[in-house]
């Protein structure tokens, strides 16, 4: 129903005041990032769901702007433009509207988001546990009692991938496709089969590539077929990629057992109490072991903060729809008579500030609460 009555508005404001009080008491500064934002970073880093649901428009100068679909990116932009040294530790919280086209679940197109972002935390593991703890405390302060926590850890996946023997460019492509499970599986499969598995309309040309002749071949081909040069890419770019394609064919295929290990890892899901044992069954190397160590320390930190992570749910593939996360990810769902409803989520996103133009890397952990959905659940 459009709009909110006075009573509805006041009830939501009361709930959100309780949430923000938790964040502010913990030492997070409340900021008000801009509602209207440049569109590019949202469209490039947010994942398809948000990409397709963002209100984008063009300003009179021709720049593509949008109504923010969430507040994480605006908070990062605020930080980069206000902080004298973006790497120095800073803790922010915020409360404000965000906008998305309704999806098939008929989610509201404007809703109020509350959240925190913690930049440059000195102790990474402690910050992750603390953000989860604060999120839960804020939800409890709002009145939520029955909920379920699911978490994942992209660091484990990155460690496993780094330990798996394959050309770096394959690793990059797998990492790039991590967010799209279907494409990921196909890609992994193609690396096992390697060599000319599927012929395409350019395979014949790739057949003719051998040591260093790609550029000459491309030039000759363009010349004989009298193809005009359009489309912004230059000849060296096209030749280099053809060479890469030819190199892929010569490459030793990925060991089938290694691919199975990656798939086995991604399939791990269950109660966190049994996860340590399951993670151990995965045959990784030193970097995977380091990520597992980090994982155990985080569980310990959570316990130190009075959380009971053994009751949480772990899923190795969790976070695959949130493109900017790089490590710890979590989601909190309220138990309702209608089933579980996601009311909050968060995690670590260490690359986002660099992607947004920060000259030096800035670590970041945060969470966001969908306050309207929370209100509906609690009503």
């Amino acid at each position: 129903m459009p709009g909110k009555s006075r009573t509805e508005r006041e009830a939501l404001e009361r709930q959100n005041a309780a949430i923000m009080a938790v964040f502010e008491r913990a030492g997070f500064d409340q900021i008000a990032p801009d509602i209207i934002q440049p569109a590019d970073i949202f469209l490039e880093r947010s994942g398809e769901d948000i990409r397709a649901r963002t209100f984008v428009f063009t300003d009179p100068s021709g720049a593509e702007m949008c109504l923010r679909p969430d507040l994480t990116v605006p908070a990062c932009r605020y930080h980069l433009s206000h902080a004298a040294n973006p790497q120095a530790e800073k803790r922010y919280c915020y409360l404000g509207p965000a906008f998305r086209f309704p999806d098939e679940l008929l989610s509201p197109q404007e809703f109020t988001q509350a959240g925190i972002e913690w930049f440059g935390a000195k102790e990474a593991i402690a910050a992750e546990a603390r953000v989860l703890k604060l999120t839960i405390s804020a939800l409890e302060a709002a009145g939520l009692t029955r909920f379920r926590v699911t978490f994942g850890d992209l660091g484990l996946f990155a460690g496993l991938l780094a330990d798996t023997d394959m050309p770096e460019r394959w690793r990059r492509r797998l990492q790039h496709h991590f967010w799209r499970p279907h494409a990921f599986r196909e890609l992994l499969e193609s690396f096992c089969a390697a060599r000319a598995s599927r012929r395409t309309s350019i395979s014949a040309l790739v057949d003719r590539i051998n040591d260093g002749n790609a550029l000459a071949l491309v030039e000759a081909e363009l010349d004989t077929r009298k193809l005009p040069f359009v489309g912004g890419r230059d000849v060296t770019e096209i030749a280099a990629r053809l060479e890469e394609k030819a190199a892929d064919r010569r490459e030793t295929p990925l060991d089938r057992a290694k691919a199975d290990t990656i798939n086995a890892y991604l399939a791990i899901t269950g109660d966190a109490s049994s996860i340590d044992a399951e993670l151990k069954t995965i045959n990784g190397g030193t970097r995977y072991a380091a990520a597992r160590d980090y994982f155990s320390k985080r569980l310990f930190e959570m316990e130190e903060l009075g959380l009971n992570p053994r009751r949480f749910h772990f899923a190795a593939g969790f976070g695959r729809d949130l493109e900017y996360y790089t490590g710890f990810t979590f989601q909190i769902e309220a138990d309702t008579p209608l089933g579980s409803i996601a009311v909050a989520g968060g995690g670590r996103y260490d690359n986002l500030l660099s992607d947004m133009g920060s000259a030096r890397p800035v670590s970041a952990v945060g969470c966001a609460i969908h306050t309207d959905r929370l209100k509906a659940v609690l009503a």
Binding site: T200, L205, P228, G231, R233
Partner: protein, 229 residues
């Protein structure tokens, strides 16, 4: 019995073909109004009004529930109403106006044959040129859906309202998503269709709101057109 409205394209080949098909099925169109303008009635069936609209408005009006039935291109229909929208449905494929909505790239991209190739060059294009690959199209939704399905993300859509096939040569975009019948316009502009780049095999359709599917007049029209098409 309340009136139901069927929309027909207001001009061009689609309009002629639609009127001809309806007439063959036994329903001729009588235009009404002083200037024999944009409304009419269907003869041979009770209380069916005809609205003459532009082909792209027909999909929009169907979605908004302003009309009950419409003859339009499947490309325009699917651009406005996704296949999983339960409010509207394709009732009859009419068999005229065949055309494919395709993804085409410059022929000089000798290293690109598939959507996967496109995804791979998107990343390096960004690193090298500091901007995203641009796709010129009027089919924003079809493009987004198809690219997402194929796992291609590093691109940007550029609005194109006409002569889309000229966009790469004009430097407005690198890639196009457009409709083609024979492919000759693409070839003339030195563009090639990707191996797996056919988004939709389109033709003219009779589409309708699911709410009117049980109306006896809709059942009759649908049956009559099905046997003609």
């Amino acid at each position: 019995m309340s009136t139901i409205t069927i929309a027909i394209p207001s001009k061009g080949r689609l309009m002629e073909a639609a009127a001809e098909l309806l007439a063959k099925a036994g329903f001729s169109i009588e235009r009404l109004g002083a200037d024999r303008g944009y409304r009419g009635v269907l003869k041979g069936i009770e209380n069916v009004e005809v609205a003459f609209l532009s082909a792209s408005e027909i999909a929009q009006n169907l979605r908004d529930g302003k009309i009950d039935l419409g003859v339009t291109g499947e490309d325009l229909l699917r651009e406005k109403i996704s296949a999983d929208d339960k409010a509207c449905d394709v009732l009859v494929r009419l068999g005229f106006g065949p055309a494919d909505v395709v993804v085409a790239v410059p022929e000089c991209w000798l290293d690109v044959a598939t959507m996967t190739d496109l995804d791979e060059i998107a990343e390096s294009f960004y690193e090298r040129h500091g901007r995203r690959l641009r796709v010129a199209t009027k089919y924003h939704n079809l493009t987004r859906r198809f690219f997402a399905e194929k796992g291609v993300t590093g691109y940007r859509i550029v609005e194109s309202l006409g002569a889309t096939e000229g966009a790469p040569a004009a430097g407005i975009a690198e890639i196009i998503v457009d409709i083609t019948t024979t492919g000759s316009t693409l070839a003339a502009n030195s563009l090639k269709i990707l191996d797996d780049g056919v988004i939709l095999k389109s033709s003219a359709v009779l589409a309708g709101r699911t709410a009117v599917l049980d109306d006896p007049r809709v059942i009759r029209l649908r049956a009559a057109l099905s046997t003609m098409a």
